[in-house]
């Protein structure tokens, strides 16, 4: 039973949401694969997944898994080569922090879509920073 519904989707200025949806879904498979691969280090802080390049568009997809198996997938345009590894990591870290903040909210039920404004703002600021 694959409950892979997205809790939160946000796209950069291009706003091709549907396409991103699709990419995120396909990348989920790869992420799951990686999770199952690393059996021993079950709780690895982050995993960097790089290299899902499509024939037409160059997109890099980064994955990140939290302890509670919540996956963050980030899709970036390869033309934006300024994005380095550490920056991606820091972005994921920020995402994770914001996510934990959202979780702290007792009104938030895990599994709901994330509607927190603070979270939105953080993501927006991050995306603006990048693009």
């Amino acid at each position: 039973m694959a409950k892979n519904y997205p809790l939160y989707i946000r796209s950069t200025p291009t706003e091709n949401e549907l396409k991103f949806h699709y990419m995120v879904h396909t990348s989920l498979d790869v992420v799951d694969e990686k999770i199952s691969a690393m059996g021993k280090a079950l709780v690895d802080q982050r995993e960097l997944y790089l290299g899902l390049l499509y024939p037409t568009e160059d997109y890099k997809v980064y994955g990140y898994v939290t302890n509670s198996k919540v996956k963050f997938v980030m899709v970036v345009d390869s033309s934006n080569t300024a994005l380095r590894d550490n920056e991606i990591r820091s972005m994921f870290r920020k995402l994770h922090n914001s996510y934990t903040d959202v979780m702290c909210n007792p009104f938030y039920n895990p599994g709901d879509r994330i509607q927190s404004r603070a979270f939105d703002n953080m993501v927006t600021s991050m995306m603006i920073q990048v693009c």
Partner: protein, 671 residues
């Protein structure tokens, strides 16, 4: 008086009316009787009068303070102009005509003759007062009297006093008043308050009575437990004043109804008082919130867990999304629990929202939770400032981390500048989220412990973490020790800031100067010291160690990291970010190592700053101590700066010499 802006004419008019009603010449309080007559003279329907009384909050207080009176007058004007009665209309309705009072109430006044000594004169003056003001008001525009100041200050002074006054009245008089009510011709009234209060205080979800906006607002929001207290609190003041007044049937009816809607009035009062600074919590409000807090959590210094708070606020019938947003705003330290201040802020936001205010995007300053133990108002001013500062050190570290790998060469300048700004505001950052994340990371990293993302954003957490994994070969054993050290430090993060022991700093300096090349013994010695010494001291000393190392053994790349790691290992915090840097950057040139080490050092200095917050909040002496510490840190960093500059110069010289050698060699290679 908050939130009520009066034109000059209105001001004059209202103050006249107030002095009229202020028969006892208290200049603060007006008896209900007079005011009620006045309102009836305004020829408004009774329920409107009732509504006005609720809205201005007099029912809660039991008497008309100047501010309530003024608000009431304004509302009368509003009502007479045909505008719907709402709290906002006080200020939003422009060009309101002055309220008109018909001087035809002498029959009613005569009924009160017994209770008023100077009634007859007042009657005369009353009717005299009423007709002229409308005309007078228009004439007297433009005269800025200091009435404006005076009523406000008196109102302000009065309001804090009012909650003190009214509860005192309540207990002894409540039984009397109720009995008295039952004797009245309008016998149904005695049931009415009960019936009225029932719906008002009904638990959320029941039908609401009352037509006023305030009722609608409040009815959904009063939690069941404090109802009884609130009832008695609210009931008795108006009824107690009733005792002093000669009860007229009509008046009684009004008062009784106002008793019933006391809670709503209280709430409305609160909202109306929040106009001036929309998010300011008045004392009554705060008192109420504190009471509510107590019902959930008797210890005022304790926390309300998230689930309890959730239930509580769910009762307010706000949509979950808004509650969620309110929570986000008010849970300042993001710990999933509400302190008293956070709770008050949240409550206030809920109340505001129920009144139609939109939720702000970020927490207004007046709602910012003060650090727990500082209850004196003197510190309140500091708190927002300090709290507001918290952004900068928190932001400086994260911004440093991405920049660091890319700016190795220009690192010294960059770091110094960012360090300076960060250190200049060494103020409270949310300690708890760091702890949460720290624990998270602890869980995650104890297993692997290998690859550590540079988490400068959580300096208290990170420094312990990456160290063991990052240590290069020779320092393998050290991570083991440091690990123990780390966990110890991480588990007692509070202890470290609370034992600022800058004395050890000098020890460390001495140590650093003298024992450059020793390892295990020093570690053993230093471990206990580290725990008690400020992390700030560590960077300096470790730096010094590194510095001396670098100067003496600059050419040996292998030894430099070893020295670095060795020298800094016992000083647990600083090396960790360093190690991380070492690994993540994949550059192990000695200069880079030292640089990154210093980066880590400085990062750890930053780390030490956030670990201070709680202790600062708790102890003024600690504040001064921390100021001293920070100054010393500053001097340390200044020295560090100069040393690094020196080092830079040396490195450049070396580079030049190498280039010269290269030049010399090249002709040979061509041969």
């Amino acid at each position: 008086m908050e939130g009520l802006t009066l034109s000059d004419a209105e001001q004059k008019y209202y103050s006249d009316l107030f002095s009229y009603c202020d028969i006892e010449s208290t200049k603060k309080v007006v008896v209900n009787g007079r005011v009620l007559e006045l309102f009836r003279a305004a020829q408004l329907p009774n329920d409107v009068v009732l509504q006005i009384m609720e809205l201005c909050g007099a029912t809660r207080l039991g008497y008309f303070g100047r501010s309530q009176f003024y608000i009431a007058l304004k509302l009368v004007a509003v009502a007479q102009s045909g505008f719907p009665l709402r709290v906002e209309s006080i200020n939003t309705v422009k060009d309101l005509p002055l309220p008109r009072f018909v001087a035809s109430k002498n029959e009613q006044e005569s009924r009160h003759a017994a209770s008023y000594s100077s009634d007859s004169e007042n009657q005369g003056s009353y009717s005299g007062v009423i007709p002229p003001p409308p005309g007078r008001g228009q004439v007297k525009k433009g005269s800025v009297t200091h009435d404006t100041v005076q009523p406000r200050t008196s109102a302000d002074a009065q309001e804090p006093a009012s909650p003190v006054v009214s509860p005192q009245q309540s207990p002894p008089t409540s039984p009397h008043t109720w009995r008295k009510h039952s004797r009245h011709p309008s016998g149904g009234n005695s049931e009415r308050p009960l019936a009225g209060s029932g719906p008002f205080w009904s638990p959320f979800g029941e039908a609401q009575s009352g037509s006023s906006a305030g009722d609608a607002v409040w009815s959904g929001h009063s939690p069941p437990p404090p109802q009884e207290n609130w009832v008695s609190f609210a009931d008795t003041p108006p009824t107690s004043t009733l005792l002093t007044m000669h009860p007229a049937s009509v008046q009684d009816q009004t008062t009784v109804r106002t008793v019933a809607s006391a809670t709503t009035a209280i709430e409305i009062r609160r909202q109306s008082s929040s106009y001036d600074d929309p998010w300011k919590i008045t004392d009554e409000q705060r008192q109420y919130y504190v009471n509510q807090f107590k019902t959930i959590q008797p210890d005022l210094n304790g926390f309300i867990p998230g689930s309890a708070a959730k239930e509580f606020f769910t009762k307010s019938k706000l949509p979950i999304l808004e509650l969620s947003h309110i929570w986000e705003l008010s849970d300042f330290d993001k710990d999933g629990a509400l302190t008293l201040d956070e709770f008050c802020a949240a409550f206030h936001l809920v109340v505001a929202r129920k009144n139609g205010y939109d939720l702000p995007e970020k927490l207004p300053e007046s709602l910012m939770p003060k650090l727990i133990d500082l209850e004196d108002s003197a510190d309140v001013g500091d708190q927002p400032g300090e709290v507001g500062y918290s952004g900068s050190p928190a932001e400086a570290p994260p911004s440093k981390s991405p920049s660091m790998p890319s700016l190795n060469q220009t690192w010294p300048e960059l770091n110094q500048s960012s360090e300076d700004t960060a250190i200049v505001h060494p103020v409270p950052i949310r300690m708890t989220p760091s702890k949460i994340h720290m624990q998270e990371m602890e869980l995650k990293r104890t297993g692997s412990g290998q690859q550590q993302a540079g988490v400068v954003a959580h300096p208290p957490a990170v420094p312990p973490r990456p160290q063991p994994s990052q240590a290069p070969g020779p320092a393998v054993h050290r991570p083991v020790d440091a690990d123990g050290l780390m966990t110890h430090t991480s588990t007692s993060p509070q202890q470290i800031p609370e034992q600022p022991n800058f004395a050890d700093f000098s020890q460390f300096e001495v140590f650093a100067a003298s024992n450059v090349n020793e390892e295990q013994d020093d570690e053993a010695e230093k471990h206990p010291e580290v725990l008690t010494v400020e992390k700030a001291s560590d960077p300096a000393s470790s730096l010094r160690v590194a510095k001396t190392d670098s100067k003496t053994e600059e050419k040996t790349a292998a030894s430099a990291p070893a020295n670095v790691s060795k020298g800094t290992t016992p000083l647990a915090p600083p090396p960790k970010p360093v190690r991380r840097r070492l690994k993540s950057e994949d550059e192990l040139r000695p200069e880079v190592d030292e640089h990154t080490q210093k980066t880590g050092v400085l990062a750890a200095v930053l780390a030490s700053q956030p670990s201070i917050p709680r202790s600062i909040g708790k102890d003024k002496k600690a504040i001064q101590a921390s100021i001293r510490r920070n100054k010393e840190t500053n001097t340390v960093l200044a020295r560090l700066n100069s040393e690094l500059q020196q080092q830079l110069k040396d490195v450049l010289e070396e580079r030049i010499s190498l280039e010269v050698q290269l030049e010399q060699l090249r002709p040979f290679s061509h041969l």
